[in-house]
Amino acid sequence: MTISEILDRLKTGNDRFVADQKDGKLQDSARRTELVSGQAPYAIILSCADSRVVPELAFDTGLGEIFVVRVAGNVANSSSIASIEYAVAHCGSSVIVVLGHQSCGAVTAAVAGGNNGYNINHLLAHIAPAIDACGEGAAIADVVKKNAELTAGDLMSRSSIISDAVNKGSVKIVPAYYNLDSGKVDFL
């Protein structure tokens, strides 16, 4: 599949999800058997750990179609970047979607500030650049979108495997926004 075919596939899958007409394909034992020897997913989704944002449901994909990296606030750290490098370098995935979402609790907590303990503080620190870029009093939705864009930039600046693939035109990174109240994904 070409990059634009993959993006179409994700968009039409999301249309089916929003219309509650999932095809539910590629989820049976025959598909598992097909995939026992290996996988060649066409896309990688970096999304939040939020229980309401489920990439495989939101894009109506079956087994073996998308790699999914999930961490609260869909941030890039050395491990999430390494996971994506693995997908790009070893499995030939060619679209990376950085998927933020409406009312993200991690972004909201980062904007609120305060001390949430070592691990959560570490996590929320990744979101600080988006908060700074949006300025004081910015809407959460704007910070979420900015965070998705900056994270997409981080993937480029912190990984030569990813940036080489993007510069060659074999991989595209797309920031996106998931609407919690409709299930719709807006590509930014």
């Binding site: 229980s51 491990s79 691990n119 109240d181 299930g183």
Partner: protein, 213 residues
């Protein structure tokens, strides 16, 4: 237990009524439905609407990014049921621990399931001591599991040996659980108080079955 309507969207009330054991039971039942190809009919659009203003997940699952293991599909769950952290090789770092703390402390999940799987590419990479970009550092996180699995004399200690690979994946789950307890005082406290449970599991990519360990 029989009365639990598993297709119902989780609310503050249903979540509060669940124990960690019940949460594990829900996951086991869901996986049995997946294996027997009898998923529950769900009105996902209704679930999207019902969860738009809040989430009350009953479980948090830490699993691999592998495309063959969509968590909600293999546990036959819907929107708002599972808080989900995924990283190649399902280990923990500060941000994943922060995500799991978020899941349990703030979002109220009752159980953390650390789920490895058979034929894991990240585990294979670690077994082969692969070196490439940021991957090198990531695979280092799995090395303690590689080092601690025994092999018979002459038995290969690399990805050519599926038994070794799958043992390392299971060992990695155990070590990750230990790490969660030792590196997250927040989660350890919830665990010690019996508010949450932390359990391990392995997913078989061939059978689709999740074995809790």
């Amino acid at each position: 237990m029989e009365n639990l309507n598993v297709a119902t969207t989780q609310t503050a009330e249903t979540q509060a009524a669940l124990t960690a054991d019940m949460a594990i039971h829900l996951l086991k039942d869901g996986n049995a439905r997946f294996v027997s190809q009898q998923p529950i009919e769900r009105d996902l659009s209704a679930q999207v609407e019902q969860t738009a203003t809040g989430q009350y997940p009953f479980a948090a699952v830490l699993s691999c990014i592998d495309s063959r293991i969509p968590t909600e599909v293999i546990f036959d769950q819907g929107i708002g049921d599972i808080f989900n952290a995924r990283i190649a090789g399902n280990f923990v770092n500060e941000d994943i621990l922060g995500s799991l703390e978020f899941a349990c402390k703030l979002a109220g999940s009752k159980v953390i399931v650390v789920m490895g799987h058979t034929s894991c590419g990240a585990v294979k990479g670690a077994c082969d001591h692969a070196k490439l970009g940021n991957l090198t550092q990531m695979l280092d996180k799995i090395m303690p599991a590689v080092d601690s699995v025994q092999t018979a004399e002459g038995e290969a200690r690399n990805s050519s040996n599926p038994r070794f690979v799958n043992e390392v994946a299971a060992r990695n789950v155990e070590l990750t659980i230990e790490k969660i307890k030792s590196e997250s005082p927040v989660l350890n406290e919830l665990f010690e108080a019996g508010t949450i449970n932390i359990v391990g599991a392995m997913y078989d990519v061939k059978s689709g079955k999740v074995s809790f360990i």
